[in-house]
Symmetry: C2
Subunit: 403 residues, 2 copies
């Protein structure tokens, strides 16, 4: 039942090598915040490095909105049509369709999450569409995909699922939980729900509660999907139609919020598709940035499920530690935390701004908890957490060496 603990060879230098996503069925239902129990649950996961005999070197890596379990190394699955164009980290926050893991620059021998030392585990989150049970999975009660009937999940539900998954692997304690964006939310949630089982958390480009503008962007994305008639009330599986137009718009909105205005300016400026002049068209892209957005939308809809986008987006807007755990007080919510905390934010990230991490730092510090907060000056916006590997690496390695 327990899968092999060493799953990745280490062929190219600094890489975990070729990996294969594995799958595990949880033996028991997971109790959800909404009051429902969910069963069965399958979890897709990958592991990198070697579990120590004491089982005390485990790092759980949590992915962001559109990611998956393939965090590092080269997929053994033949890559589908690549969505990479050399620019955007947004292409990497989900790796399906490309061979390289979405955080490959951070996980491997000698890297930030050093697989010479740590046993790194990555799962696809609850509600996902890359192997873990989600809206596209079969509801045993009906024999059909859940669709919009999937229970409305929270970040805490994702974390409870990860906890249940690690139980099956026989892993009780975590040396660290780490993630960016929604992944950072999961790390924070771990430290509150299971304080005695987490030694450290690495929370990157994240927050204790998304600000109202971020809530608004997410609402727009969900409205775009649900307003697409092909969504069909969430039951589009098997109909031959999917809300690709709405998903495309959702992805475009997300994409622009992941980048900074100066990054867009530096990459595209106002350059036209056809350098000679405008062509007087409303239907076709005229500017390079317009064409780029369409390309991002087109490739995203091929690899990602619209309902997973809806449920995951909803979960990250719900996430609010003060409301959930502190009766409105962030300090009270963080009281149970015993993990050492590393917070990293990026100066140009306007979706998860440094101020949000600073609020966490201040609350933890006031409680006398060990916390370190680093702001990296970098121009690429929220996507920095996937791009700025070189500057995150020494901070994380140093933090993890202290334990």
């Amino acid at each position: 039942m327990i899968p092999p603990m060493v799953s990745a060879s280490t062929s190219p230098a600094g890489s975990v090598g070729y990996v294969e996503t594995q799958y595990l069925d949880l033996p028991k239902p997971v109790q959800l915040d909404c009051g429902q129990e969910l069963h069965p649950i399958r979890v897709a996961y990958e592991t990198y490095g070697t579990l120590s005999p004491e089982r005390d070197n485990v790092i759980l890596v949590c992915h962001a909105l559109s990611g998956d379990a393939h965090a590092a190394g080269f997929s053994k699955t033949p890559p589908q049509a690549s969505t990479r164009d050399g620019f955007g980290a947004a292409d990497r926050d989900g790796s399906a369709g490309s061979g390289l893991g979405w955080w490959d620059g951070m996980i491997g021998p000698g890297k930030a999450f050093d697989t010479d030392r740590f046993f790194v585990v990555a799962t696809n989150l609850l509600g996902g569409c890359s192997g873990t049970t989600g809206p596209s999975s079969i509801d045993p009660a009906t024999g059909k995909p859940y669709g919009s009937g999937f229970p409305v999940i929270t970040v805490a539900d994702m974390v409870r699922t990860e906890r249940a998954f690690l139980d099956v692997l026989g892993i009780e304690r975590l040396a660290a939980v780490a993630g960016g964006s929604l992944g950072g939310m999961q790390a924070l949630q771990w430290a509150i729900l299971f304080p005695d089982q987490v030694d450290a958390i690495v929370v990157i480009a994240s927050t204790h509660a998304l600000h109202p503008q971020g809530v608004a962007w997410n609402a727009i994305a969900r409205n775009a999907i649900m307003g697409d008639p092909a969504w069909q009330g969430g039951h589009y599986y098997g109909t031959g139609r999917a809300p690709d137009a709405g998903m495309g718009v959702a992805r475009m909105v997300g994409h622009v919020t992941y980048l900074s205005a100066p990054a867009l300016d530096g990459k595209f400026g106002r350059r036209l598709q056809f350098a000679d002049d405008i062509r007087y068209t409303i239907a076709e892209p005229e500017f390079e940035v317009e064409s780029y957005l369409r390309h991002q939308a087109d490739s995203f809809v091929k690899r990602f499920d619209a309902n997973t986008y809806l449920f995951t987006s909803r979960a990250l807007t719900y996430f609010d530690l003060a409301r959930q755990h502190g009766g409105g007080s962030l300090a009270r919510a963080l009281e149970p935390v015993s993990a050492r905390t590393l917070l990293i934010a990026f100066s140009s990230d306007w979706l998860y701004p440094p101020s949000a991490s600073e609020e966490i730092e201040e609350a933890l510090r006031a409680l006398g908890k060990p916390v370190e907060f680093q702001v990296i000056e970098a121009p690429y916006g929220h996507d920095c957490f996937l791009l700025e590997e070189a500057r995150q690496t020494p901070l994380i390695r140093h933090f993890l060496a202290e334990r």
Copy 2:
């Protein structure tokens, strides 16, 4: 043929009183940038104040993306269901559906554009949906609405139409052209196309060329509309269906870009619709800001035509003075300008940031042209141009008194 020059009574103090939108058919075709000639063209307009015998006191006021000719006073047309909720200026950038003009706080006796002194003229722009010829107008060649067959227009085409309209009114010179956002683009375009006929321009919260992120937001909005199957390739008139879902998403995107993140935070925070707790729903609004956006979308689609949104949005992304008139150089583009220039920007406006106005100021100053640039510290983002009447008024009054 020439309509009455005094069209508004002045009943409430400081108000131009009750007004009625008037209509005028241009006698000749307008030559468009795309190469086509457009005929016939009807222009919807309102006037406030009294034309001087010398016809030298005319201010043309130009509206933004979703505005109309009803800039000041109370509409004699009974107001439709009001979209006003007391917060957003965005409700006022088009006044249809509410009795009060979209810039009523700025136009009237003793106001910024003082109707005791000036004869203020406001038109609905070319391509509009509030009385001026646009995509919903009948194409004489087919006897059906133009739809997406309407010629792809530019800001210069809007200005040429305004020029032709004023010709009919017998107005040769303008004491000033004024506007915010797309309205400010028109003012700049006037000063370049007709330098000998414009004494001054007042350019508020505007730019010489939208930055790439702004181009991206507009592309997303247009994609949302055109991706709605109810758009039907742009020929939805008379079908009983319109791309309301796509337009709603477009409006939500616009709305968030018009406001600043702190303004959204101050107005809504993360307050829930139902204060007790979340309700675990993806389909229904949970946060006040989500509900607000839906309300904005719902009321906008009732009053605004989707094709007008597409053509106007395209025109404002095309607008690029350096490309159009300077071979890539803003300074060269501004060389013909002889109008005195007042530029006003708002500190929190991230869609039309102060830096854009500063570039115009520096270029004009280097050319030795008279220019004044004021940045108003205010938190409401791009919407400030509709909200910050009290602080704009003395700047504009002082500037206009200098002539």
